[in-house]
C-alpha cells in the first residue's frame, strides 16, 4: 500500500480497480496492459524506475498513458518524473493522484495539467482513514476524458500540453 493510510490502495482495491474497469468497458479504448513499477527509497533509483516505465510506453507505441499512484510526498518524485518523461516523448498523458491541500506536488512539471486530484477528505488532509482518499469510477472517468481530449488534439495536429 501507499505511504499514508487514507490514500493506500488495499489488495481488494487492486482486485476490483475502478480505472481498469472503466478503461476495459470503453469501446473507444484498446487497453494494452498495466505497467507497474515500485517506488524505491533512493532518489537515483526513483528516476531510473520511473523513466524506464516511460521508455516502455514509448517503445510500445501507445497513443496515450494514464499514470496512477496511491502515494504522495516523496513518491511524487517518481510520479512526476514518469509523467514528464512521457510528456517529453510527445505522448498524451493524464493521471490520478492524491493532492488535497496537504499533499500537493513536491516537484512541478508542465505535463501535470491533466492529473486528476482524487481527494475526498473535506479538509484535503491525510485523515488516516483507510480508503477515504481512494479514487472511484468517477475519478477514473475524468482522467480518461482528459486523456481522450489530449489524444484528439494530437490527432488534429493541435498543441496538447
Amino acid at each position: 500500500m501507499g505511504v499514508g493510510p487514507s490514500t493506500k490502495e488495499t489488495s481488494l482495491h487492486h482486485f476490483r480497480d475502478p480505472l481498469i474497469k472503466v478503461l476495459g468497458e470503453d469501446p473507444g479504448i484498446d487497453l494494452m496492459g498495466v505497467l507497474v513499477f515500485g517506488s524505491p527509497e533512493a532518489n537515483i533509483d526513483k528516476i531510473l524506475c520511473s523513466r524506464s516505465a516511460a521508455v516502455i510506453a514509448e517503445c510500445s507505441r501507445c497513443d496515450g498513458v494514464i499514470v496512477e499512484t496511491d502515494g504522495w510526498g516523496n513518491l511524487d518524485v517518481d510520479y512526476v518524473n514518469c509523467v514528464e518523461e512521457i510528456g517529453k516523448r510527445g505522448i498524451p498523458v493524464a493521471g490520478l493522484n492524491w493532492s488535497g491541500t496537504a499533499g500537493t506536488f513536491v516537484v512541478e512539471s508542465k505535463y501535470l495539467v491533466d492529473v486528476v486530484d482524487f481527494n475526498k477528505n473535506p479538509e484535503g488532509i491525510e485523515s488516516n482513514i483507510i480508503g477515504e482518499n481512494n479514487y472511484t469510477e468517477e475519478d477514473a472517468r475524468e482522467a480518461v476524458k482528459r486523456l481522450k481530449i489530449q489524444m484528439a488534439k494530437k490527432e488534429r495536429g493541435l498543441k496538447f500540453f
Binding site: S39, I56, I66, G71, I130
Partner: protein, 254 residues
C-alpha cells in the same frame, strides 16, 4: 470497422457468504457458510520468531464501534481453479473480507506515516473499491508482533505469510466449489480493439522497504506464497495484461 480480437477469457465466479462463525472445524461451503476455529496457535508457533499472538475477530456489518490496531490490508479470499493467472477460472467470495491488523507487544502500531489504529467505525471508510461495503462482514486477523518488530520488513513478510497460510486451507476447499453454484459470474477478456486508441496504464506502487512493500505473481490471487517483492526486483516496471491485473496479480503488503 475493424473487429475486436479476444485473446483470452478470465471468468471470476463469486460465492456470497452470509454466515461467518467460529466453530470446531475450518470449513467453507458454496452455499455461503464459513466456519473456522478461533485458535490460531498453529500459525503463531510456525512464525514464533516474530509473532507473539494472533487473534481472530468476526466483525458483523454495523458492529464497527470497537478498537482496531493499524489496518495492514483488506484481502479478498480468492483462488485459482483452472488455467494460469489472467485466464481460466477464479473463485472468490463476496460478503466477507480478511483484514490483517498489527501492533507489537509494547503497543507500537504497524505504521509509517500516520496510523489508522483507533475506533474502526472512524478509521475505515466503507463502500470504496478497496474497502468492505456497509453489509459486508470483516474477519479481522489481529497480529501481535514481538517487541520492536512491527516495522521490520522480514517480520511483516512473515505476518503476511501466516495470514496467507491460514487463508490457503479455505482456498483449497473453494477450488472444489461447483461452478454452477456461484452467486455471480463475471467474464473478462483481454481484447485487442483494432482501430481504437491504444492506452497504457502505469501504476506506481510502494517499494520503500520496512513495511512498505508490494508483491507480484503469488500462486493465488492476492496471495503471498510464490510471489515476488517489487523491492527484490529493484522496483523496475513489470507489464501485466489487464486480465492478469484483474486476477489479483498484485498484493499490497504494507
Amino acid at each position: 470497422m475493424a473487429e475486436n480480437i479476444e485473446l483470452r477469457r478470465l471468468s471470476i465466479k463469486s460465492y456470497h457468504m452470509t454466515e461467518v462463525a467460529f466453530g470446531d472445524e475450518n470449513l467453507i461451503t458454496p452455499d455461503g457458510k464459513w466456519t473456522f476455529k478461533e485458535d490460531m496457535s498453529e500459525y503463531v508457533k510456525a512464525h514464533s520468531e516474530v509473532i507473539e499472538d494472533i487473534k481472530l475477530q468476526i466483525i458483523m456489518p454495523g458492529d464497527h464501534d470497537r478498537h482496531t490496531n493499524a489496518i495492514m490490508d483488506i484481502i479478498p479470499l480468492s483462488t485459482k481453479v483452472l488455467g494460469k493467472r489472467g485466464e481460466g477460472i477464479t473463485h472468490t467470495v463476496t460478503g466477507v473480507y480478511v483484514m490483517p491488523t498489527g501492533v507489537d507487544t509494547e503497543g507500537e502500531q504497524v505504521h509509517e506515516f500516520g496510523s489508522c489504529n483507533g475506533n474502526l467505525k472512524e478509521m475505515l471508510h466503507l463502500n470504496m473499491a478497496g474497502t468492505p461495503a456497509d453489509d459486508d462482514i470483516i474477519v479481522s486477523v489481529d497480529i501481535t508482533f514481538k517487541k520492536g518488530l512491527g516495522q521490520e520488513r522480514y517480520a511483516i513478510i512473515e505476518a503476511y505469510k501466516a495470514v496467507d497460510e491460514w487463508m490457503q486451507q479455505f482456498r483449497m476447499q473453494m477450488k472444489k466449489f461447483d461452478g454452477n453454484a456461484a452467486t455471480e459470474r463475471h467474464d473478462y477478456y483481454d481484447t485487442v480493439k483494432q482501430g481504437q486508441k491504444k492506452v497504457l496504464v502505469i501504476k506506481e506502487v510502494i517499494g520503500h522497504g520496512a513495511m512498505l512493500d508490494t508483491w507480484f505473481f503469488a500462486d493465488e490471487p492476492c496471495g503471498v506464497e510464490g510471489g515476488k517483492s517489487t523491492i527484490d526486483m529493484g522496483c523496475m516496471p513489470v507489464m501485466l495484461t489487464p486480465n492478469e491485473f484483474r486476477d489479483g496479480a498484485i498484493h499490497a503488503m504494507n
